[in-house]
């Protein structure tokens, strides 16, 4: 499967402009034979929405929703948007469109709400981590902070996901002598998923600024069993193209045999015991 990650700077609140960027990249990817185009978290709207969320949230009846679906007739796409499936309940959602319709939706479960983050003031949390099929690949989607909880890509591993697509709006922070500490967080988890869960792992982060918050990009691809292979530049808009196969996933699983030897039933029993004893 040929996949293109689009690292760009969405304009806050300017849905028509962001949609035009989507159209441009999907059409260009289609001409290049790309089968899936991935955009960052909240690429339709920008990140720090506050009161804009209720003004901009997409619904299944929105013209923007119809346009994204229509674009996917040529090439499938994954993007992020505020989404209002139930009136009055807005989620931070990843939407996968393919063959002219919505193939899958993942509502962000882990909404950061500390320091500079205020997502629970805006969004209702998602409730599950389900996989879906696209082009023969089983795919799971993570949105930003979900990547930092190893249990979530593990849930996809249990469902035999071949590819995890992680879309993000991560601002840089933790300045030190080697750049920003935040960069290492994502690469560490991407490497872990690739090596130990034997998944292909694509991380797509945005660039640009919203007031003082800067988004560094730094999108990357980690091949199943191989670790990080391709990196987009820091700070600037860019695309990266990757080509991946199911055979690589199979070989990665056979090399480490983590999938064969894991024991989720035991883990589940132990988690239940631990929670029971801890909460007594």
């Amino acid at each position: 499967m040929k996949i293109r990650a689009v690292q760009f700077s969405p304009r806050l609140g300017d849905v028509p402009a962001n949609l035009a960027t989507h159209r441009h990249h999907v059409e260009e990817a289609s001409r290049a034979g790309v089968e899936l185009v991935v955009f960052p978290e909240l690429a339709i709207s920008g990140y720090h929405l506050m009161d804009l969320a209720e003004e901009l949230a997409l619904t299944p009846m929105s013209p923007e929703f119809a346009e994204l679906a229509s674009l996917s007739k040529a090439t499938a796409l994954i993007t992020g948007a505020p989404f209002e499936a139930t009136p009055g309940r807005i989620t931070n959602s990843a939407l996968c469109f393919a063959d002219g319709e919505l193939r899958h939706r993942h509502d962000k479960v882990q909404l950061p709400n500390f320091g500079m983050f205020q997502e629970t003031m805006i969004f209702a949390p998602g409730t599950s981590f389900r996989t879906f099929l696209l082009g023969g690949f089983r795919i799971g989607i993570l949105v930003c902070r979900e990547i930092l909880f190893p249990i979530f890509p593990y849930l996809y591993s249990l469902q035999r996901a071949d590819l995890v697509v992680a879309i993000s709006n991560s601002p840089h922070r933790g300045l030190g002598p080697e750049g920003f500490a935040s960069t290492g967080l994502w690469e560490t988890m991407g490497t872990t998923c690739s090596l130990f869960f034997c998944q292909h792992f694509l991380f797509v982060n945005r660039t640009g600024f919203e007031e003082g918050l800067g988004f560094p990009g730094g999108s990357f691809f980690a091949r199943a069993g191989q670790g990080i292979e391709t990196r987009a530049p820091q700070l600037d808009e860019a695309t990266i193209d990757v080509e991946l196969s199911l055979d690589e996933v199979r070989r990665a699983r056979l090399a480490g045999n983590y999938l064969r030897d894991e024991n989720p039933e035991l883990a589940l029993r132990e988690i239940q015991r631990i929670l029971h004893e801890r909460d007594r």
Binding site: R11, L12, G13, D14, A17, G46, H48, M50, D51, L52, H172, L175, G176, P177, E178, G179, F180, G208, F209, E210, E211, G212, G214, P216, Q234, L235
Partner: protein, 272 residues
């Protein structure tokens, strides 16, 4: 104190300045250049971000400012290729204080800072240039600034860098040695220095601030870690607390269901 990766900081801050100018629809940037370190660093960043032709520097000396300050500012503008204008603010300052004497001396400093702000915003409109601030994290945290004076600007590119980190960045940016070497000063009267007024060196102040703010240590932990007198750390902490009003917008008294500043919430760089 955290060392910084000056190349990364430069890459981020130049993009930050260019982004703000573009988003707000201005043609360029304008800032007050004092001949000191902070404005020199911001001027160099702005010149890199927008090209020298996109930046206007205003030198705004008062008659008691050190003569070398304006000279250092002019030399820097020449080195960077930035257009520079000098406006002596003495007549308008002296006209005011002829009616209302400047007692205590701090009033003179505040008036000069607000006069400079007023001139910068006037020229901002004339030139369609965004006013770029030059406050650093050390002075923002202890409130060493004049409210609606030097603290007034559209953006603060170096507001998350301590003074000692600004020194590192200045070396990276090739700021002339004559600016880096001199004592930091608000230059409001002869012999004035920041460290003299604050009663502490920047090296020590920044270390205390870094531990209290960035590392979230308690004052007692900072005293133990840095082996400092407890009252010195307490004084810094008190300055932070007492100057919080300078770092926030004025509160609006809530009456309705939706109140500006409380529950009418939008970012300022809304691109529509």
């Amino acid at each position: 104190m955290n060392e910084i990766d000056s190349a990364t900081v430069t890459a981020v801050l130049t993009r930050f300045i260019a982004d703000a100018v573009a988003k707000t629809g201005h043609r360029g940037a304008i800032l007050g250049v004092s001949g000191g370190l902070d404005s020199a660093v911001v001027l160099a960043l702005a010149a890199r971000a927008l090209g020298p032709a996109g930046v206007t520097a205003l030198l705004l000396p008062y008659r008691m400012s050190a003569p070398e300050s304006a000279r250092h500012g002019r030399n820097l503008c020449q080195q960077l290729g930035v257009e520079c204008h000098e406006i002596d603010i003495s007549p308008q300052i002296d006209a005011y204080f002829a009616r209302f004497p400047a007692e205590p001396r701090m009033l003179l400093g505040n008036k000069c800072a607000r006069e400079r702000m007023s001139i910068l915003y006037d020229h901002s409109v004339r030139r369609q240039a965004l006013v770029i601030g030059t406050s650093n994290k050390s002075e923002l945290l202890v409130g060493y600034s004049t409210l609606f004076g030097d603290s007034a600007a559209a953006i603060q590119p170096i507001g998350d860098l301590y003074k000692t980190q600004v020194f590192s960045l200045a070396l990276h940016l090739g700021i002339p040695a004559e600016i880096i070497a001199k004592q930091p000063s608000a230059d409001l009267w002869p012999g004035q220095t920041d460290e003299g007024e604050l009663g502490i060196t920047y090296r020590e102040l920044d270390e205390i601030l870094f531990q209290l703010v960035d590392r979230r240590l308690s004052p007692a932990q900072v005293v133990a870690l840095l082996d400092l007198p407890a009252e010195r750390v307490a004084r810094v902490r008190q300055r932070i607390v007492r100057s919080q009003y300078k770092r926030t917008m004025p509160p609006v008294a809530k009456l309705s269901n939706r109140t500006v500043g409380l529950d009418f919430r939008y970012l300022r760089d809304l691109a529509r």
